[in-house]
Symmetry: C2
Subunit: 146 residues, 2 copies
DNA sequence: CTGCAAGTTGAAGTGAACTTCAACTCAAGG
DNA sequence: CCTTGAGTTGAAGTTCACTTCAACTTGCAG
């Protein structure tokens, strides 16, 4: 068991395509050292970092924001436990928000099932529109953080 | 209070840009009748449909899938209460899955905060990779339905 | 009737997140 | 050594979900 992973190994273990890993590297989300023959070698810790990136991206956070968050962990070095804890907590509140949003949508949908949604005023999903309209133009802001 | 909305009115009340509404119409997600002068007029019921589309899209469901789901509601006509109930239930389980996923990620992140995540074996987020790797190659499947 | 905001079209542009391609070079087993 | 699968690059292509543009036409308030 060595501790340097090739891009293929990192890809296999993270489930992220090699092309995507190179892309992440170009964007500065991950990094590698190089062999004499110019091939990438990743520290095993990069696996954790890639997992974090994927999970965050799937939650809808843009790569640039993820990059910024990770960059706040001391530049280039493997994060310390304290760094990781801090970042995890921040991300957790992000997840909590997202979960709360989905639960709200779900509950509104439940109301809709009840009300039939064709008649009316009392439907949350229906009335939500006017609420949103009153908050100004542009795409619906459900996902936005200010 | 008439019951036909111009594209501008539908836009204002749904919070979706007119260009996006035309785009949805091209994709067959919504439809309109036309005035003598070829301007779109939307039934008020379209407001509910647009709300449904937006909420679904924000939950990460691609427009084409939303279109397909809506198409299952009897073609072109305003859905009956039964149609709507059926669709809502299906969508609800979709939301439930998504919520469950996020909760799982959150809990794993909590474990990570605890374990420091640098030491290793015991971290859910970390070990998840190998789990994924064992399920074959390709991008992480967290969001996929088979 | 006129003025002008609001609407129309098809085509092209945008940005995010990747993937694909061509044309190589590297590394490791037999 | 040699073959072959894995890796390298920059540039271009792809998909999704829209937006922008240019060149018009409509509809309604005054």
């Amino acid at each position: 068991m060595q501790n340097a992973l090739t891009i293929g190994e990192l890809s296999a273990r993270s489930g992220v395509a090699p092309s995507a890993l190179r892309y992440y590297e170009r964007l500065g989300l991950i990094w590698s050292s190089r062999t004499g023959g110019n091939q990438r070698r990743y520290e095993r810790a990069m696996l954790r970092r890639v997992a974090f990136i994927r999970v965050s991206a799937q939650v809808g956070i843009p790569l640039e924001e993820i990059r910024a968050a990770l960059a706040s962990l001391g530049d280039g070095r493997t994060p310390t436990k304290a760094d990781w804890t801090r970042l995890s907590r921040a991300w957790r509140s992000r997840l909590d928000e997202r979960i709360a949003l989905l639960e709200k949508v779900r509950d509104q949908l439940d109301d809709c099932i009840g009300c039939g949604c064709l008649s009316l005023k009392s439907c949350g999903l229906y009335n939500r529109d006017d609420e949103l309209a009153s908050k100004g133009p542009g795409p619906v802001k459900l996902l936005r953080r200010d």
